[in-house]
Symmetry: C4
Subunit: 505 residues, 4 copies
């Protein structure tokens, strides 16, 4: 029979030398595991000697605990009566309990975000809502669609309207897909599985985040026949780990491609997320800003005792620990080719130069996603609409060689239609899906897809367009955006590579 | 003698199988009529078994009841004492009773809207005020006029100033006309007849809505000699109904043309209107969002019990039931030519391509109305000013071949003058007339016309222009708008049709 | 000895047939004079039978009463004890009595307006503050200066800085002058004489309004040697009156030119001014909107009893009564040449076409004032900066042939400098002078000039410019304005006249 | 033994004839010194006869008292018990005492300003915060960076990131330097020495203000080996004083160049600073607006007794007393060459013409600083970004001949990177350093540098750029700024000088 521990004893083991934690009523000795934690050792050490269940649960896939620790690491169980009361009732973290809203009464994506903001925890909201610096790119992602006007045609029979299309060769009912947003269980226990359920209902594609809070097997478990998934890869510094993940994906035939994320080789500065790290915490978390090594200090002054380091925290930051920042066109794509036969979708391109380079790697690369990471990586990076117009201006042949998808700022069916008119083949939604989950679990995600599908159909009908493939530049007026599209020098590497590439074609 | 019913008995007949309603104190069995209701069966079923007078009255022409039902459908009368009190005193629906304002003290169209907003019911306000999605087009309709500057000339004798002109060959005293706005009796019992009275006073044209809340005969009954009317047609799926309407219009010689509305083949998404549907309702209306068939679901999941349908409600939505979405240039104009000799005015054009196509159908088509339906159909559709400038840029000959009218966003006499300078011959007002009606019945509409006429005259005098036909592009500076006019590819059908058409001329 | 009247008896004479008023304690019979009142008969009849002193005093020059009425019109004096108390203490009209501010503590023109707004009556504020329609032109007059950037040069000796220049050949110490703003005594008893005193101190020019609240002789009475004045003419329908005024001006050799106002041939629509007409009135003023003849009604309906007339009120409106709206280049300038030898300055030009036409009338016309009447005439008319740039674009020779002055929106010394760089020779201030008067009488006007002079000098020094004549386009960056300058068709009369004119040169 | 004075006796000596002040408990007779005070005599006379310690201390270098006065000027000590209590407890001037914030919790420069605003005195805040007129340039300095978009490249190895560069040939770890902002001890006793300490930690350059509140020797006393300083020169009217300063600088070999400030030959109009001069003052300060000579009055009126002078006050104003306004390219640079061998950096250039002229004076002139003095000199002067783009447009060779630095409006690492992409080599921060000082002394300044360095590195990594010298125009999209860059006539002196210069090269 398992030994029963008092909390006071557990609390003593709160260092890197001896690190115990309580999880789901059990006591674990995780000392050996600390250095290998994918999220960094610091995160664990902050919780050393405490009941970490609440912190641990929403961001770890079920079962991962057993997978990771050895049996002997489980020391016994905790005597629940000895837990400090503040750890039992995390009132500050508890979201609004006034009950979920009537989803049918929510008429648009903004209203769903508003409801979710009240439903979910401050920490979850901060992680979803936050973006880099001053949120300029996040805001611009949406307003740029408002700058584009539609050009409806009349006397066109629009009784029929078909939103179906294909993505990397697979049929989908909607050009709208769910972007690989992490940590869905922060919003609702349905998690990424709930998103999959909603996508299944609408025939929509889902990209599964590398940082999902459920295992990929759990997420795709109840998929509809023919339901389309992609899996997002953040390449790890320890390549073997990534290779292991690819091998695991290979076994799941519902996963049709690998989405390699490129727009965040290092974390952006999401201040709202950083600020949230202590808010409502039930235990005195040690600041993630403390400690760590300073690498670029030029001198150390004996006369001062202040420490010029910046180590921002927040969930976003800890997810990055271990992510590789040294990817390159040649080495990474070659390495990938060795470990997967699935087509590659490159996510996070923001210039026509990179879109062009990607198109030179067809057919290994089948699609690119123009994305500024929801404004979360580099503030004042351009919205996807800008990159679409850049490609049209400099290298429209890209559209013929690979698929171009976009994400960021989609709030209305008219936004979806405008992206399609500009040449996008798929249109991703990230926050709307997560806020839908927060507002009402899988039903909330379905409501988001339902609204966007209906708005998209209404827009197509009022434009006089019956099929997705008939949408084009003649249905939009982009002049107020076009005059702001890049007109400067080509990048250094482009002139030669470019010309060589063209010569080859 | 008519039978007297208790309300409790009526209340039992609340299904599609047996549907009774109380109207004006009488009890009707409308079971047979339910499937044929032009506004859809659902709207009736929501009121089945109740006193529907309050819902019915402001949106149905007087007399239509007798016209529609057979004598035997009238079962008897209701015992008023048995009506539930909440149905007798719809306090929440009752508008502000503090008495009408002094119309003379209202100095501009905005002040009239402000007063009307307090006077009329929430439901009426929502129907008039609402526009598609985020109201971007509705707002832009007005602000685009603010972007255009006037260029007043000096040392011009402006003692005389004549605002008269002709529209489709008929003399009017004002270039301003009232657009075919529906449901005027929601605002005031004077209804569309009151608008006609005010137009008569000012020699202004009125377009009668297909969804007027009075019969067309009632509306034109007391017209001034020579007063000009047009009648708006929404083509019904059941063409025979539309043909019947055209035959009926043929008998009224005050109606000089048919206005075919094209900018709303399917309803736009007016959220304010949808939201209002239950507000202040005296009985628990069944949500219009429930029920109905889902047509585009790609899969049905046994694991989920949520219903991915969107069926937005509101008055606007129910008016659309039965409206045809399959009109085309060739079939519809040919069909029309068979059923009416009146000239056709096409409403809702938003591109130069369609304006050009329309001009090829002169003389059957005598005028076009550039309109985005008051921003109510497709959000981010362009304001009429954009389409005027597009026509000037691509096919100015249109102005010589057909008349071009505009509507949307007119709030000032300077707006009217700017539209005329850009080439418009008629300038329609929709909401201002309805809000005028709401603020003070027919006198309120007259006040609106009085203000706009005076402002138009002041503007013409200060520009140094004595006659409407002397207004032109030299009196306005449109540069800040011109740079945003469409510059993209011509529509697919245009190149050939266009050149062929030019060749023919 | 004068007869003493009871107020009750005076009150009986309140019609056009017998019209008495009390002024300064005397009782007058003004029945004969009513039809001849330059401000219209209605204004007097509204005050018939009452003590009109308060209404009369601030808008009539002292002495005009004796000049206008015959001795026998003075019937006697009023028994003050019989006056209704409400007429004695017009509390609502009484401005803030907390005492004048320390003028030295007011650092800019906005602060002076803010103080004046509290000091002066609601009616005076409304008259000064108001502008046409939505105040778009008034606002734009100022913001357009903010769009222009300065280009300061360094390493320039700026110890000396001379703001003096010449206007129509006369030396002034400042390029800033006071525009012909009416009704200065509404703001302060110092009135236009106070403005003259302040201008004298700073060597600034003053244009005397045709509607001044003091006689022109009173205004110029204490002028400095060499102090420069112009006199504004609104041509009256009764030309003989204007000829009389010109003859009277001829006797005053301090008045060096006639300023003919052209930008307001009919009154604009100043709603704030209209609204103010009843506010705080001590007696129930009959609405100026009632009565009058309707001229353009096309039909009269026996079925309606409402009256479609608009007759806006306010001070601005009544000043216009009798003003001629039939001026033309040929007739008016020819007529003027017969009645004055003074040079003519044309005020209110707003297009390059009119500026060019004016330049053809040199040397009779010596200067033009680009003005939209402070935004008070036609809303969305262009600011003077636009017209300056239009002239530069189309006919820069105008600057060589006549002087170009501007007014409207000046709030900072940088605004003055920018106007001068654009080619203006004189820069007029209207509201700032009146608000200065309101804030502190003549000292307040002096404070305004002191601030603007200091700011102008600071700006010139920081630009590295020592003299007014050295300012030019190289010191400003106007690109964000230039792209909005008119680019449309030339006016109808221009092509021939223009070419002919050029040929002649 | 020193004589002990009663405050009452000191208070009698409050005139220019006999001027005593109490400083640090001692009584001084400063009568002889009054006319020579670099800040003007008035400032002293306002404090004559009082304890001036509080006013004196934060804006004078320690030790300057002894240096300036003769021993016999020290009369004795004050009997502290006789001081009026109000002079002892200047409550209104006392800043928020709630204790310094946790610097680590402040995540960006705006938050640091917010905290500093609560920590420092109203007077210090007003001096730092204030800018000219309406703060248009100050605001634009920052928002113009928001208009520029970044263009991140993907698949670039960004594990390494090096922010080091060289400035005028000296190695620095950061391209960010601290601008020569005056009066640092107003914010915190650490003063300019604290700034130097923080710069030392980060290997950042510091420009020492001519108006520093510590002596230059004190500031550089504890510098790190190789730490880089420049010294700012405001040339005095009395050139001998400036020559003395240059001689003194020559002795300090840590100072590597002279920074000659050109953008403020006369003070700008900083209203916030002027307003603050009396706020919270413990004694009735005589207004700095009174007195002084009027130079440009054209007439004096015996009838008026008001004084048309403007003499704005504030700290900024008094720092200018004695500053020369007659500098020119030829005379000043020639004079400088005689008195220093150090390279010259010219600060305050705002046009491409002046940048070009400066480049002709290489190698004496080694760098220029594009600056509008933080918006403090001439309002609506262009931000440095405009001048960078002007140089690129008209004379890009300038970048090859001299270094171009910029300051103004930097709030984010992305701002720094954008300036570097545009061609700047150094990027100065003024207010952020002072507000950092105010928020937490030297640690606060270090926190500012820490944040900006981390943000700069993150930005470079996300752009895919490893070294400062690889940044360039291909990484930014400046189109929305470029269309507003000057396009007008070249300055008068340019054509010849320009061509001659080009011919010589």
């Amino acid at each position: 029979m398992a030994k029963v521990f008092d909390y006071a004893e557990v609390a003593k083991h709160n260092t890197a030398e001896s690190c115990w934690v309580v999880l789901y009523g059990n006591v674990y000795d995780v000392t050996e595991f600390v250095p290998d934690h994918p999220g960094g050792s610091k995160v664990i050490l902050q919780l050393a000697g405490t009941d970490a269940t609440e912190e641990y649960d929403p961001i770890h896939p079920p079962g991962i605990l057993e997978e990771t620790l050895k049996p002997e690491n489980k020391l016994g169980t905790i005597d629940a009566s000895t837990l400090p009361s503040s750890e039992k009732s995390p009132a500050q973290e508890t979201p609004d309990e006034s009950g979920p809203p009537d989803l049918e009464s929510l008429l648009n994506v903004d209203e769903i975000e508003e409801v979710a903001t009240k439903q979910i925890s401050r920490k979850a909201w901060a992680y979803y809502y936050s973006a880099a610096d001053d949120l300029a790119s996040k805001s611009f992602n949406n307003t740029v669609y408002r700058q584009i006007l539609l050009r409806p045609r009349v006397f066109v029979d629009c009784t029929a309207c078909d939103t179906s299309t294909t993505l990397v060769g697979h049929k989908v009912s909607l050009p709208i897909y769910v972007s690989p947003a992490a940590m869905a269980r922060l919003a609702h226990p349905d998690g990424e599985h709930g998103i999959a359920q909603a996508c299944g209902l609408f025939g929509a594609m889902q990209l599964i985040s590398n940082n999902a809070s459920m295992t990929v097997e759990q997420i795709v478990a109840d998929a509809q026949p023919g339901q389309l998934f992609g899996w997002q890869l953040y390449v790890q510094n320890d390549r073997a780990k990534s290779e292991g993940q690819l091998a695991r994906i290979k076994k799941l035939d519902t996963i049709k491609f690998i989405c390699l994320t490129l727009d965040a080789p290092v974390p952006g500065k999401r201040e709202e997320d950083e600020r949230s790290k202590n808010i409502g915490a039930v235990l005195p978390v040690k600041s993630a800003v403390q400690g760590g090594e300073s690498t670029s200090q030029t001198s150390s002054s004996p006369q001062t005792n202040f420490n010029p380091e910046i180590k921002p925290g927040g969930i976003g930051q800890s997810l990055f620990a271990g992510t590789a920042a040294d990817l390159t066109w040649k080495t990474t794509l070659t390495w990938l080719a060795k470990h997967t036969n699935l087509p590659i979708v490159l996510k996070g391109l923001q210039t026509h130069e990179d879109a062009y380079l990607a198109s030179l790697h067809a057919p290994q690369v089948k699609a690119i996603i123009l994305s500024n990471h929801g404004g979360r990586a580099l503030d004042t990076a351009p919205p996807a609409v800008y990159t679409l117009l850049e490609i049209r201006k400099y290298c429209p042949e890209v559209f013929n060689r690979i698929e171009v998808w976009v994400d960021g700022g989609i709030k209305r069916g008219t936004d979806v239609v405008k992206a399609l008119c500009l040449g996008a083949r798929g249109v991703g939604i990230g926050r709307p899906a997560l806020f839908g989950l927060g507002a009402g679990g899988k039903e909330g995600v379905a409501r988001v897809l339902e609204i966007l599908k209906a708005e998209t159909e209404t827009c197509m009908r009022l434009l006089g367009v019956a099929k997705v493939e008939d949408l084009g530049m003649q249905y939009i007026n982009t002049r107020s955006v076009e005059r702001d599209i890049y007109d400067g020098p080509a990048s250094l590497e482009r002139p030669s590579l470019w010309e060589k590439a063209r010569a080859k074609l």
